[in-house]
């Protein structure tokens, strides 16, 4: 099958690879970036799109207070369990896409109330992160977390509940924002908008799935994992008309009709995924390539994602990054850049302060992305988190010139992006510190100065961008 992609930059610098790892993963230590530099850009993209199956996690297993994690039983450990994968996984794009899909299919444990189901859904998202979207949609439609979250488990032929039917169209797959028409260069059209009738008919077609509360509470592990079951007696087997197609549709047909809806395959999904990686809207030719690759492949995500990772817009403005690091990305990349692993539960409440707790999106439309993550409250929380990331990582570097102090801090943090203006101001800080606290600096002064420079690089304005 012939897919088409934009040409990669022909002479990539190290900054290209850093951008790739930042946005298609959770940044990387110096060694991790070097690994991709050696591969070269084409192979680096291919490796990201081709998950390793063995030895996926590299580094020490996560702990809290010296004990192994208990995600099902202890507060915050579900968050730590996933965060650890982001930190240690060799399949960086898979983990980043799992997070993106969690945002797209936003399901919150605040409504589900069952961590086992949340982890199960998380595995499902990971399994399809660079895989087949139609397959993902079919499975997520009938898995226990979603059936509880959007009332599928309460819906039946006598009283169909429209909640999932509405959101699968409005938020997950089709969209209803008239601005999409211009943003997708006319590929998404308002004329093709679904109707309330489509939602109602889809709700009828989706009936038949039930949830066994007894098995969920006291069944075998497997039953507790997934206590849902099909009950033909609860399914409305009658005729329905969805998007003008009439038949005795069931849940599988709804998924098929949704992914084949003209507003799905081209515009909505491609636009939504592009927006996770690139701040500027897709060009017309990028839209066409994403659409064609996705359709030709039968709804595979990899050929669509490859258009994004190849596109010149992905590598634009390497010295003026224009995307805000979501809090989860900030924490996972902070750990990777400081070469640390999960050893405490602090990250869970810190992420709450920062405004993004995995498994707890604020509502079914997910987190508001980009600049919306930042305000005066969250800026303070990013700073506070940085204190934890740097805690006990800095030894006395000895006497340094201001320039050497900044260079050492950059190196210790795996060379984060910092504008030349910022580097100059940090050198001024180092020099002012010496003037104000001299004439001679002691061991504590060296540590304090180095701590402040690193904190500025991480939680100053430059550190919030990627």
């Amino acid at each position: 099958m012939a897919y088409s992609y934009p040409a990669l930059p022909s002479k990539p610098t190290r900054a290209h690879f850093q951008r790739l790892l930042w946005r298609a993963g959770f940044a990387g230590s110096h060694d991790q970036v070097t690994h991709y530099v050696k591969l070269g850009l084409p192979k680096a993209v291919t490796e990201l799109l081709t998950p390793f199956r063995k030895n996926v996690l590299v580094g020490p297993v996560p702990t809290d207070g010296g004990n192994r994690l208990q995600p099902l039983d202890l507060w915050g450990h579900d968050c730590l369990w996933w965060l650890d994968r982001m930190v240690r996984s060799r399949n960086q794009l898979v983990e980043r896409m799992t997070l993106n899909l969690h945002d797209l299919f936003a399901t919150s444990n605040a409504g589900v109330g069952n961590t086992r189901h949340m982890l199960r859904q998380n595995r499902l998202l990971r399994g399809h992160a660079v895989g087949n979207f139609h397959g993902l949609l079919e499975q997520i439609t009938i898995e226990p977390a979603m059936l509880l979250w959007l009332n599928g488990a309460d819906s039946n032929k006598w009283e169909p509940n429209e909640n999932y039917g509405r959101e699968v169209m409005e938020l997950f797959c089709l969209g209803n924002d008239p601005n999409l028409e211009s943003l997708t260069h006319g590929l998404w059209t308002n004329t093709n908008m679904y109707t309330q009738n489509d939602i109602h008919e889809a709700a009828r077609a989706l009936t038949g799935w039930r949830y066994d509360w007894n098995k969920a509470a006291t069944g075998t592990i497997k039953q507790r994992e997934n206590p849902t079951f099909w009950d033909a007696g609860y399914h409305d087997a009658g005729q329905k008309t969805i998007y003008g197609h009439t038949g005795n549709w069931d849940w599988r047909d709804v998924c098929r009709l949704v992914v084949n809806h003209p507003n799905h395959a081209p515009p909505y999904l491609a636009y939504a995924l592009w927006s996770y990686f690139i701040a500027t809207p897709p060009t017309a030719s990028a839209m066409r390539q994403m659409v064609n690759n996705y359709r030709k492949s039968g709804f595979e995500l990899a050929p669509l994602l490859k258009v994004i990772l190849h596109h010149p817009a992905f590598y634009l403005n390497l010295d003026e990054p224009d995307m805000v690091k979501p809090p989860i990305v900030f924490v996972a990349s902070g750990l990777r850049n400081t070469r640390r692993f999960i050893k405490s539960n602090s990250w869970s409440w810190l992420l709450d302060n920062m405004g993004q707790v995995p498994f707890y999106p604020p509502n079914v439309s997910g987190w508001k992305q980009g600049p919306a993550f930042l305000n005066t409250n969250t800026a303070h929380a990013y700073w506070q988190t940085t204190g934890y990331l740097l805690d006990q990582t800095i030894r006395d570097p000895g006497s340094q010139t201001p320039k050497a102090a900044v260079t050492a801090a950059m190196s210790a943090l795996s060379h984060p992006w910092a504008s030349s203006d910022t580097r100059t101001k940090l050198e001024t800080y180092a020099s002012d510190y010496a003037t104000r606290n001299g004439p001679t600096l002691d061991s504590h002064d060296h540590v304090e100065r180095q701590t402040v420079i690193r904190a500025m690089l991480m939680a100053g304005p430059d550190g919030l961008l990627h």
Binding site: G111, W149, P178, H380, G460
Partner: protein
């Protein structure tokens, strides 16, 4: 079991700010120092409103200027009318808030709501001068009963727009915008501020919460978000020799011309946070005062009692928005969840009204309570009974000058009265509330604020 539907409501706004980043300033220093009439620094501390302001739409103003403007306003007691908007986030079910208890409507109600229907005998009657035997309040809505019997609630029983869309996000955006635009540039109260407000006082229009309410988005004149501060200071382990140099350097990093929107957001957030911290560093942690007015202890109570006190402080405030963002989206388990919400909401609003009157503000404030839509007339059996998204919601206008009683048509709930989806018909457009409040209450021209205003015949809600 804890599963509750689409959960759109869950702290939707709690930590996320709108894309347009604000400029952050603390409460005017002059005010804090007690130099202005009606308020002193001690009051601020005691009332828990010491807080920081995120100011929107004031990029041309320097902070000193804003302080001066607010202090100048504070020097003269206000006399102008005020609108307070209370948004019930999630789509409240009007039919189980105010229940039709007689005739064919009750018969239809009882047969269509086998799971969640309330028994008329348990509901609270509508008494006072506007007594009405055909309706009764939800048994939990004791505060509404109290206000209604005192003639202080005008009820709009089925209000929406045509055709109803049933999406949380669209409907909320439409109500906030005052027009049917899902991505509005401005809100209806924001446009009012642009037309009638001051160019230099962001306190004239305040969202009490974490983010700017869409209704308040303005194009030119400044508006503000007011939230409470816990620990705003910037500290770092191992930094004790020269922390001031650290804080100054951090603030300095954000002073530059940003290359793009994201960088501008990062600069504003960091720079603003440092500024807030230094301004507040001299103040101690505020606590909520005890009161005998019946306020509860929730964050909604705190925001409403702070609001009453700020309205009393002559800051020039003319419009304010508060969101009650604990789930009104009753896809399941409706009876118990709604009872808890209505009990808290109505008690707090009754306390707020009493508070305003005690402060002598009864003649100046009208409170509009609204939700983005109503719910399906026929119930479902999810979690013991719930309702899907519907049309025709319930809105209330509360105040000393509200015209107590039913203030608009109810379309009926027999089969023949409903639309093809089994939803209430929409005899009243929500903009008929706006044109009434903007014109008759605020004394301004609705046509300058609401597109095509003449199409929306004002209701008669205020006296």
């Amino acid at each position: 079991m804890n599963h509750c539907g689409c959960n759109d409501w869950q702290s939707t706004h709690r930590r996320s700010m709108l894309r347009r980043q604000g400029q952050v300033v603390p409460i005017p220093r002059a005010v804090l120092e007690g130099e202005s009439a009606g308020m002193c620094r001690r009051d601020f501390l005691r009332n828990g409103a010491v807080a920081f302001l995120t100011v929107y739409g004031a990029s041309m103003l320097d902070w000193g200027h804003i302080w001066e403007a607010a202090s100048a306003q504070a020097a003269t007691p206000g006399t102008d009318p005020i609108i307070v908007s209370v948004f019930l986030d999630g789509g409240n079910d009007g039919l189980n808030t105010l229940i039709p208890i007689t005739g064919s409507d009750y018969a239809a109600y009882a047969s269509k709501r086998p799971h969640i229907g309330l028994a008329p005998a348990n509901c609270l009657p509508l008494g006072g001068a506007a007594a009405n035997p055909d309706w009764a309040w939800n048994p939990a809505a004791t505060g509404f009963q109290h206000l209604y019997d005192a003639g202080k609630i005008a009820v709009i029983p089925s209000v929406d727009y045509m055709p109803p869309d049933l999406s949380h996000f669209h409907s909320r955006a439409f109500w906030q915008a005052g027009e049917l635009d899902p991505n509005p540039a401005t809100g209806w109260l924001g446009r009012w501020v642009d037309q009638n407000g001051a160019a230099d006082n962001p306190l004239q229009a305040v969202s009490a919460g974490w983010s700017l309410d869409g209704s308040l988005k303005s194009a030119t004149n400044p508006v503000a978000v007011l939230s409470s501060v816990e620990d705003a200071q910037f500290t770092m382990n191992n930094v004790w020799s020269d922390p001031q140099l650290m804080v100054d350097t951090l603030a300095g990093l954000s002073v530059r011309s940003a290359a793009n929107d994201a960088m501008s957001a990062a600069d504003n957030a960091v720079g603003g946070a440092v500024n807030v911290a230094s301004r507040l560093s001299a103040l101690t942690q505020p606590t909520l005062p005890p009161n005998g007015l019946g306020y509860g202890t929730t964050s909604f109570d705190q925001r409403m009692s702070n609001l009453a006190w700020m309205l009393d402080s002559n800051l020039g405030m003319r419009v304010a928005c508060v969101s009650y963002d604990d789930g009104w989206d009753f896809h399941d388990s409706q009876v118990s969840r709604q009872a808890q919400n209505l009990s808290r909401l109505s008690t707090t609003l009754a306390a707020f009204q009493a508070d305003l009157e005690q402060r002598g503000l009864g003649d100046r404030v009208i409170t509009l309570v609204w939700s983005e839509f109503g719910r399906r007339v026929e119930d479902n059996d999810s979690g013991g009974g719930g309702t899907d998204h519907g049309a025709g919601g319930l809105a209330l206008v509360i105040g000393t000058h509200a015209k107590g009683g039913l203030a608009a048509e109810f379309p009926g709930i027999s089969d023949a009265d409903l639309d093809q989806w089994g939803n209430l018909k929409v005899p009243t457009d929500y903009r008929q509330i706006y044109t009434n409040l903007l014109g008759d209450w605020m004394g301004t021209d609705p046509a300058a604020v609401i597109p095509d205003a003449s199409s929306y015949t004002p209701l008669d809600l205020v006296a």
